[in-house]
């Protein structure tokens, strides 16, 4: 299995708790021969590619330096994520089993890669805009929610980290429960459950080849 993980934060660039979670996930996947590739934002310290503990890590920079907000920053960074992932795909005889996208930032890239190259994706939900912005409905928040919605709609499976989040995903986005997998971090069988989701998505790829 070859899985590409998208996350906007990854050590040494730690913003919240997601960075360490993704790091643990990637290193566990290495041990289980799941061949993870991590694509993340650069941090001025680490180069554009390295392999800490066997995790092939690509760090992309935004070609557009000046921004008016997080949205424009994210939406111009996605093409670099696509470029790096397409390179992984073409360099490995077009064999990428799936993408695991954490949070909403790189959902546009995951959707394009799904449509273009038949790579299915899992959307791992860490938090939702509705909670982060306390239900604010400015066009800015709505835009982020529309990207989250796109991820819920286009993904093959959702992974949430608590029963509460499973209920929230249903309440806010009406995602059918069979699409949502609740996998608690630190729980026994955590990695096994994630691998089961991955295998499921990769094997039941209805998109065609890949």
């Amino acid at each position: 299995m070859r899985v590409v993980i998208f996350s906007w934060e990854y050590p040494p660039r730690i913003i919240g708790q997601l960075a360490d979670y993704v790091k643990t996930l990637a290193s566990q996947l290495v041990k289980h021969d799941a061949q993870p590739y991590v694509v993340t934002y650069h941090d001025y310290l680490t180069g554009e590619y390295d392999e800490p503990e066997g995790t092939r890590t690509f760090r992309v920079n935004n070609p557009v330096h000046t921004h008016i907000g997080v949205l424009t920053w994210v939406l111009t960074l996605n093409q670099e994520v696509e470029r790096v992932t397409a390179n992984i795909y073409y360099d490995n005889k077009r064999q990428v089993s799936l993408i695991d996208v954490h949070e909403w930032h790189f959902i546009p890239a995951a959707v394009t890669l799904k449509k273009a190259l038949n790579i299915p994706f899992v959307y791992s939900v860490e938090s939702l805009e509705d909670h982060r912005s306390h239900g604010a409905n400015t066009p800015y928040n709505m835009a982020i929610k529309s990207i989250e919605w796109l991820g819920m709609y286009e993904s093959s499976k959702l992974v949430v980290k608590s029963g509460w989040m499973r209920d929230e995903v249903f309440r806010l986005y009406k995602v059918p429960s069979e699409k949502v997998n609740t996998i608690l971090p630190n729980s026994t069988g955590w990695l096994k459950n994630i691998l089961t989701v991955y295998k499921d998505v990769a094997e039941k790829n209805h998109l065609g080849n890949s």
């Binding site: 939406l75 397409a86 546009p108 529309s146």
Partner: protein, 411 residues
Amino acid sequence: MLTWEFPPRTIGGISPHVYYLSKSLARDGVKVYVVTCDFPGAPPHEVLEGVQVFRVDSYRNPSPDFATWVYLMNVNMQKEAATIIKDLNGNVDILHAHDWLVATAGIGLKHVFRKPLFVTMHSTEIGRRNGIHFDYERMIHETEAWLTYEAWKVICCSDYMVSHVRWAFGLPPDKQVMIPNGVNADIYARLDKKDLVQFRRKFALPEEKIVLFVGRLVYEKGVHVLVNAIPRVLEKVNTKFVIVGNGYMKEQLSGLVKTLGISQKVLFTGFVDDETLRKLQTCADVSVVPSLFEPFGIVALEAMAAKSPVVVSDTGGLGEIVDHDIDGVKVYTNNPDSLAWGITKVLEDEKHAENIRSNAFEKIQEKYNWNRIAQQTENMYKSVLNEYAKSFWAIKGQRSHSFHETKDTLV
């Protein structure tokens, strides 16, 4: 072909440009797929004169400002275009984007499908704003720079724009191509001219000459220069000035007209439909393009196609279209005296006007003919596909390098 506007959605010059270019390429046997924004009443998919047109839902995502709307629209455009290309088994040879408005979609598609990307830079942020002053503008400027960096070739419609784009983004000269914009003379030839005398009376008295301005009423179009030139023209020739278009300067301009005491000689029509516009262009004794900044100046070509003598300011791409005193009159930019001199010269000398008319018409049929432009574009595609086929980056085993035999697909 990626564009944010395509008929019936027409905001500026990109829409007719992409329409005629695609149509002429399709006539030459190139399979053209246009992906563009939706428009009320226009179908999401149709075949228009041999061109496959796909319109994407572009107002799906709420957006806090125009630039963010553009980037979000590109998410949907890229998604739709990716689906179209995949349905063609990836057998697309070329991606052609128009302006930064489709930058991110074009760049993303280039990388996921590994196909050469072309961009036509119709305008630049630094040119439109006369400099970069705010972060918002700089962000767009940097997006344009990124797009020209990612493109295999950067096309501009005039020599002026070629050098402007080179200056703005520091491009290597061998990356740039000049292919002019075109004009379709047939639409003027096909015009119903029976009631033209009657039509003319709606705008001017029979003894008045008509001087026509067509364009947005904004600063860079120099309408205020024209208004300031009017009293000097009226000293010599009895003329009606017809000003077609809308813009933020409208109030200011009609105030200026009142102050100068020439209200009875100036008519603001606002936005008019295509047929009225074409008839007006046919009736005009002079068509004026007094722009202060003009990357190309398509309205001058339209006037030439309508056989109306043109008086233009010698700026940007506009100055390149006209040879002074041969197929038009060139005047100093931002100079009402010079403009008045040019207009009066054409109005007073019928023979000269007639010469200009016929030379101009000949020129647009030769140089600004869409078939010729499509041919130039196709030649550029072919030579790049040869380069592409030899590159390490090329996807082998697809039909892509046999463009010249099969005249394959492009988006």
